[in-house]
């Protein structure tokens, strides 16, 4: 009797699997995330420059005359090369690493990959945020084959993947550190009182976002090292830069220790990347407050037109220098 059941279940499984394969072929693997499709498109077009980034690229002041994001400004400065850009509000180094590993596996990777290091992303506020983990995209980048794309949805429907490695509860309880000193949990820094901007609240928000001391074994530092290593091994030039930070405003609220912490974290990345022989473009402490446009009430890394143009020009120089070095 059980044999009859097993045979019927096996037949049903085979029919469902066949239908799933047919659906994948007909629908063109529609579960593939848009950024991965975009990356495939750039690779197919043979774009020589791939610019990975986050909101500092495209957040603009609506009153500006030129509201072009940095990647478009860069394209204007380098008209002879086509720039492909993959960016999202909250992308970070671990996701860039997944993209870099993905493109170097392809037969026609880009010649240059531009990767920003936003020091805000190392803080637990960003690093541990459940919505900023992008596990689905990482999965598709890691499992680069048709079988995965075909069976992703049924597997996801049956929880084969942990798409939320950190829960909101864990995140809210994560410690906020000022250097190595715990100053509270994230939920205390994100509660309703921060809807009102006061000096004290601004100080707290700057601590939350920037005052964390990144250790050498921080996931984002390790990801930066892997990016440099993987790109070097594949013969792809890496342009890695630290995004500008409104350090003068930071100093205004927290004193010189704000800038000291930025320098310290930059140095941690530098030390980790030294062995990888990569030129780092440090723009972290080069812009004054007039080049920023926070957008929200608390200081952040978003730039105005002048700020974005400054970054685009520095990147254009770096890209040109690298492309001229390589055939």
């Amino acid at each position: 009797m059980p044999t009859r059941l097993i045979i019927r279940l096996a037949v049903l499984a085979a029919i469902l699997a066949a239908l799933q394969v047919a659906l994948g072929l007909v629908s063109g693997y529609k579960d593939t995330p848009t950024p991965v499709r975009l990356c495939d498109q750039y690779l197919a077009e043979g774009r020589p420059i791939l610019y990975l980034g986050e909101s500092t690229l495209y957040t603009v002041d609506p009153r500006e005359a030129d509201r072009a994001p940095i990647n478009e400004m860069l394209q204007r400065l380098l008209p002879q090369y086509r720039v492909g850009c993959i960016a999202h509000d909250a992308y970070h180094l671990e996701l860039y690493e997944a993209f870099c590993r993905y493109v170097v596996r392809k037969p026609n990777p880009p010649r240059v990959v531009i990767v920003p290091i936003n020091l805000g992303t190392v803080s637990p506020y960003w690093d541990c945020r459940p919505a900023y983990q992008f596990e689905r995209i990482k999965l598709f980048l890691r499992h680069d084959n048709r079988w995965f794309r075909t069976f992703y949805r049924p597997l996801a429907a049956f929880r084969a993947f942990n798409l939320t490695p950190i829960s909101e509860r864990e995140y809210n309880r994560t410690l906020v550190l000022d250097g190595d000193v715990p100053v509270g949990a994230i939920q205390e820094f994100t509660d309703a009182k921060y809807a009102t901007c006061t000096d004290e609240n601004t100080r707290d928000q700057l601590i939350l976002r920037y005052m964390y001391r990144a250790p050498a074994d921080h996931a984002k530092v390790i990801a930066a090292v892997h990016i440099a290593r993987e790109l070097r091994k594949a013969g792809v030039c890496a342009v890695i830069y630290f995004t500008p930070i409104d350090y003068q405003t930071g100093e205004q609220y927290l004193g010189e220790r704000f800038t000291a912490r930025i320098r310290e974290n930059v140095q941690t990345f530098r030390d980790a990347l030294r062995a990888e022989d990569v030129d780092l473009l440090d723009l972290s402490l080069v812009l004054d407050p007039s080049k920023f446009h926070w957008g929200s009430m608390y200081p952040n890394e978003h730039l105005n037109e002048q700020g974005r143009l400054f970054v685009a020009e520095r990147l254009a120089e770096a890209v040109r220098a690298r492309l001229e070095k390589t055939p």
Binding site: M1, P2, R4, L5, L12, I15, L16, L19, Q20, L23, D31, R136, Y152, R153, P154, L155, A156, A157, F158, R159, A160, L163, T164
Partner: protein, 488 residues
């Protein structure tokens, strides 16, 4: 371990294979180990609470069996009640009462600050404590013989299909079945699997898809106009039904595969034409629990009218509180109690109205009106059940009438959907399975899905397996949406 996970599918297949391969005398041990493994997949330490609850009731009942006097037996019952309800209070309600006490002390300027425990709520604690309590009460009442086999009793408390979200079983139903041998029966196994597939369909294809819309609306109700708030609430009514009844279907189906019949937990609740009827169709294992162990001991209906009304209110408020330590659940329960009483008080008015309007000769119209009214009342109460706080629920209710006819001010319906990361196509894919499900339930009336499918020709049965299986595989939401009743 979620029912809709590969982990569970593998676990279940292995357990069923071993269950039928092992001799009867070893099966209880297999199921007990499997049940604890199933539970410990969440939080291993909390299995100790089930062990504690099991031992307390096992010993209380053995002691009870040796007590010739009623007072002695009552002591055992009280011991069980204190232990189980104490466990429930500590893990589920302590922080709620402590926080409100601290607030009250603050208002009174009394310098007392009760520290909060801030512990993770053990999954299923409300279900298994009620299940063990029912056993002790039944033995106390003389309706149930004490179970002397500790292993079988432990299995009754922890039986994995219904451990974390019910149905809350009665010992008179489940214990004898655990003591009986069940041979492999192809028809039963097939029926069980059909029921599981149907439950998965309800959960994965309907409830989870509706949850995306509902979570957006209730996550930030101030962003949406009245019609969307109404739609979100109606969707929640179906989400919670499909989610919870889906879980019950999987539990009932899984048990049936092993030859065990669990009690039915839902009977098309939105087909009810009154609030009392709704409660005879919704979460039946809980409503009958409250009826037998709270409502009837309070005197039921055989008391003065005022006392009867207060009994009804007590039962519904306690039932609300059972769902969670939040005022929203208390209001939800109180609302249902008020509906119940109002329905009774307005009986004469409704009959007169039907007579005066001539509707009394049109029973179908009356039925339809009663069905719609009951559904709307239930939906209004769901607002409190789903909202984060009473103030949010009040906000939603007071904004139901706002911006009707002004959807364009929000950029139109398609724009609103886009803001939820949904497309019109995804919305249709959300509503269509719901319509199909309700149609099938309507056609089937009170016939179970396994009977409905099982008596069809082979090709129809296989069409059902393939379509339902393919829908579960492809129409689900990749993000994890836990079963709503896990939090209780």
């Amino acid at each position: 371990m979620q029912f809709n996970s590969i982990e569970f599918l593998v676990f279940f297949a292995v357990v069923v294979a071993l269950y039928f391969a092992l001799p009867f005398r070893a099966r209880w041990l297999l199921l007990l180990i499997a049940s604890y493994y199933f539970y410990m997949a969440w939080e291993p330490l909390y299995a100790l609470l089930i062990v504690a609850s099991t031992l307390v009731d096992y010993l209380a009942v053995l002691w009870m069996a040796h007590e010739p006097e009623k007072t002695g037996r009552r002591k055992c019952l009280i011991m069980s009640l204190v232990a189980n309800l104490g466990l429930l209070f500590t893990f589920k309600y302590f922080d709620f009462f402590a926080a409100w006490s601290n607030r009250a002390f603050g208002w009174l300027h009394v310098p007392v600050d009760i520290p909060l425990l801030d512990v993770l709520l053990p999954v299923g604690i409300s279900f298994y404590t009620f299940q063990t309590l029912s056993y002790t009460i039944e033995v106390y009442r003389g309706h149930q013989q004490p179970e002397r086999h500790l292993g079988r009793f432990a299995l009754y408390v922890a039986f994995f299909p219904q451990l974390v979200a019910g149905p809350i079983e009665r010992s008179v139903n489940l214990l004898p079945q655990l003591n009986r041998e069940h041979a492999f029966d192809y028809g039963r196994v097939r029926d069980g699997l059909i029921r599981m597939l149907w439950g998965l369909l309800k959960k994965v294809v309907v409830a989870d898809r509706l949850a995306v819309f509902v979570n957006h609306v209730y996550g930030a109700p101030e962003r949406y106009p009245g019609p969307i708030l109404v739609l979100g609430t109606v969707f929640f009514a179906f989400q919670i039904y499909c989610d919870f009844s889906g879980y019950s279907d999987i539990a009932i189906g899984a048990a049936r595969v092993m030859g065990i019949d669990l009690i039915q937990n839902f009977r098309r609740p939105y087909g009810a034409r009154s609030i009392p009827e709704f409660w005879r169709r919704w979460h039946i294992s809980l409503s009958t629990w409250f009826r037998d162990y709270v409502y009837l001991p309070l005197g039921g209906r055989h008391v003065a009218l005022g006392r009867w009304f207060s009994n009804i209110l007590i039962v519904f408020v306690v039932s609300g509180l059972w769902h969670g330590a939040n005022w929203t659940f208390v209001v939800w329960g109180a609302l249902h109690g008020s509906y119940y009483i109002a329905g009774y008080l307005l009986k004469g008015v409704r009959a007169r109205l039907a007579r005066d309007t001539g509707l009394e000769h049109r029973p179908r119209v009356i039925d339809a009106l009663r069905l719609v009214t009951t559904f709307l009342l239930v939906c209004l109460a769901w607002v409190f059940f789903r909202a984060e706080s009473v103030s949010q629920a009040v906000y939603i209710l007071t904004h139901f009438p706002s911006h009707w006819g002004h959807l364009t001010a929000y950029g139109g319906f398609a724009r609103i959907l886009t803001s939820m990361d949904l497309s019109v196509r995804a919305f249709v894919a959300t509503v269509l399975p719901l319509i199909v499900l309700l149609t099938v339930e309507h056609i089937g009336k009170d016939t179970s899905i396994e009977e409905l499918v099982g008596r069809r020709p082979v090709w129809m049965r296989w069409a059902f397996y393939v379509v339902a299986g393919f829908a579960v595989m492809n129409l689900g939401v990749p993000e994890e949406i836990p079963f709503v009743y896990f939090q209780f």
